[in-house]
């Protein structure tokens, strides 16, 4: 047999049937569900008189609309509350493998709770009505976001109609410098390939720098694959993967564990497998990243400056840059380190895991947020992350620095709850999208790593986190 890529292995092992034109019926192992993209799917199912094919494949949580403080008051916004209650009712009706509702000790962002509970396992196909489902590819899964019609399709048939993607290898050679994290790697990759560079591809991340990342770091990287246009990102199985999964609640145990591990070890691209595209980066050349515009590809390094649209030859791009700078309230050629921030957000499915909080805390320890910074929100990705952080005393580090320590959820990543930017406010954010209005109408988002966000909170402007190294 010819050498196969990891993507081909995952694809081939899930094809139920294939049509002559290449459209395949792909079996889905894990279906993650949250409150925003599922109500219409459950309704459609019911209207058609259908039942879920395998409700035991479903893991659900409420995360997008839930408040991150005063949980005792419940959900104040009646429309948000109705959406969360609709999820409660739908899940009660169909029955699922696991449901972590609002206020549950294991509630959290859907892409944080799957892996930490061992509900995301290597070799699975994982879908969710959410584009950041690519996160789960860190476990050598074929994981991608789907629309609500497809949520209904998976509920009804346990399958998706799919066409094979092209494959792209993004290899990061060498090792990362101090203060440079998976988030910086993700932004650097998007800066290189562009937000549409991965369209039509499934990306495998490989190379020494990727092998050196923790599972948290790999999740951050795969999470951002969609920001590079690729529906799926993935990383091969190695000891790091297996060590992470041992003894998680839904991980296999005993003899099954051994059987599973033996299979999981095969989930890597074969020697000599060929990809449709290969992109290579040098890890040592990657520096802490900061976005300056309204698309994740509008990114530079902390030592850089806002570009001048006048230097851009392509008229469509130039106009996009001009519009972005106007929206962001930035003048061309402003050094990044001279941009001050009003708020800081540390959280989201990109950067709200324990390692992210440790990195932020290591910068914040013994320091104070700048007086000019109005608010620093630290929002753990899940109840389990929150308790782990508290056990390590990280909450106290944040509180002592003048940061706020919140309950888990999506929060100011998309501002569907009360956490948001006011018009014109500028934010250093560890989330994944700097789109216009994403964090609140008129809000201005700069994407950075957790350490860089904490450093911006302390300095009141963007600074090179490597100056803060302890």
């Amino acid at each position: 047999m010819h050498p196969q890529t990891l993507y081909e292995k995952l694809w081939n092992s899930h094809v139920v049937r294939q049509e002559a034109d290449g459209t395949a019926l792909l079996y889905i192992d894990r279906h993650l569900v949250h409150e925003v993209t599922s109500p219409q799917a459950f309704e459609g199912l019911k209207l058609a008189g259908r039942k879920p094919w395998r409700s035991g494949s479903i893991v659900a949580t409420a995360d997008h609309n839930t408040p991150t403080d005063h949980w005792e008051l419940g959900i104040q916004d009646p429309i948000s509350r109705q959406q969360v209650e609709t999820l409660d009712a739908n899940i009660r009706e169909v029955g699922v493998l696991a449901y972590f509702p609002f206020k549950d000790a294991r509630q959290g962002i859907v892409h944080v709770i799957g892996p930490e509970n061992g509900a995301t396992l290597p070799g699975m196909t994982v879908v969710c009505g959410d584009s950041h489902t690519s996160t789960h590819g860190a476990f050598a899964c074929l994981a991608h976001g789907i629309g609500t019609s497809e949520v209904e399709h998976v509920l009804a048939t346990q399958c998706l109609l799919q066409k094979r993607s092209r494959t792209m290898l993004v290899r990061v050679d060498g090792s990362l410098g101090p203060g440079v994290t998976a988030k910086d790697v993700a932004l650097a990759i998007i800066g290189k390939i562009g937000t549409a560079g991965g369209t039509g591809y499934a990306i495998e991340f490989g190379g020494e720098a990727i092998r050196g990342l923790s599972m948290e770091g790999r999740m951050t990287l795969c999470n951002m694959a969609i920001e590079g246009g690729a529906r799926a990102g993935m990383v091969a199985v190695d000891d790091t993967t297996i060590d992470y999964l041992r003894d998680r609640p839904f991980s296999p145990q005993g003899a099954l564990w051994d059987q599973a591990v033996a299979y999981w070890r095969t989930l890597r691209s074969d020697e000599g497998a060929s990809f449709d595209a290969v992109v290579v980066l040098d890890a040592a050349a990657i520096l802490p990243q900061v976005t300056w515009g309204t698309s994740p590809e509008m990114v530079t390094t902390i030592g850089g400056a806002v570009p001048d649209p006048a230097d851009e030859a392509d008229p469509v791009r130039r106009e996009g840059m001009e519009r972005a700078l106007k929206y962001m309230g930035l003048a061309p050629r402003t050094p990044i380190a001279e941009i001050s921030v009003d708020k800081v957000f540390i959280g989201s499915c990109t950067n709200s895991r324990i390692e992210d909080l440790r990195e932020a805390a290591s910068v914040a320890r013994g320091r104070q947020k700048a007086a000019s910074v109005k608010q620093v929100l630290v929002v753990p990705g899940s109840g389990l992350v929150k308790r782990q952080a508290e056990a390590e005393g990280l909450d106290q580090v944040f509180l002592a620095a003048g940061f706020e320590w919140r309950e888990p959820g999506c929060s100011m990543c998309l501002a569907m709850n009360a956490d948001r930017l006011e018009p014109g406010e500028r934010c250093a954010s560890t989330s994944n999208r700097n789109f216009e209005g994403r964090q609140g109408a008129g809000g201005r988002t700069h994407l950075v790593s957790p350490a860089m966000a904490a450093a911006a909170a302390i300095a009141g402007r963007f600074v090179d986190v490597r100056q803060f190294a302890q």
Binding site: D21, T37, S80, Q82, G147, T148, T195, E319, G320, R433
Partner: protein, 212 residues
């Protein structure tokens, strides 16, 4: 699903690249548990000068008259002309729901984001990919003449300009069939229920840890 065969419609030009689904339908409207009614809030932050809330009537809201969809000559547009990477970002199907509810039947652009592209087909909305040069020419013609219309014929896979020039486009054969016939995917897939069951049984015996 609504069938799509031939659409002869007024064209509105949205001259921006990387239009994301947050811009197409902002997050506050995602709190709805319905599939319809998103049209009035399509491109909400660009169309209106205030910040819209779900359930708020749009009649009295201040409009941004510079935004293309607010200009009188584009009222009733059924075809949206776009630039690269339209529909990037969030997977929200509310984006095609809003476009469809507003009255659009088709989009024409050089490229579309994957998930959005997929979502369009599930909702009878046809995304047509043409070369950047062809799209550029359409923008120029559209801006130059008021009442600019195009005819999109799915069966023959052509976009025909008022000057008679016909541009061919590619479309996945399976999706084309579904759209031409208004077929529901789920019904089609369930014809293969036995295959799914057989596959599932085999998987259960080979990787039992996936079924608990």
């Amino acid at each position: 699903m609504r069938k799509f065969d031939v659409v002869d419609g007024l064209v509105a030009p949205l001259d921006r690249a990387n239009v994301d689904t947050d811009a197409i339908i902002p997050k506050q409207f995602l709190k709805s548990i319905k599939r319809s009614g998103f049209g009035p809030n399509l491109f909400d932050e660009w169309r209106y000068l205030d910040v819209g809330e779900p359930g708020q009537p749009v009649a009295g809201r201040p409009r941004n008259m510079e935004f293309v969809l607010n200009q009188p000559r584009y009222q009733g547009a059924q075809i949206l002309l776009t630039r690269d990477n339209f529909g990037c970002g969030s997977s929200r199907e509310h984006a095609p729901w809003a476009l469809e509810d507003y009255g659009f039947r088709a989009l024409i652009g050089p490229s579309f984001a994957d998930i959005f592209h997929n979502n369009c087909f599930k909702n009878g909305l046809l995304p047509v990919r043409l070369s950047a040069a062809d799209v550029d020419a359409l923008f120029q013609q559209c801006l130059a003449s008021s009442g600019y219309r195009l005819t999109i014929d799915l069966a023959s896979q052509t976009v025909t300009r008022p000057d008679g020039v016909s541009l061919g486009f590619e479309v996945d054969p399976f999706r084309k069939e579904c759209l031409l016939n208004g077929w529901d995917d789920i019904g089609l897939t369930l014809r293969h229920a036995d295959d799914i069951r057989t596959f599932e049984e085999r998987r259960k015996s080979e990787q039992p840890w996936l079924f608990r």
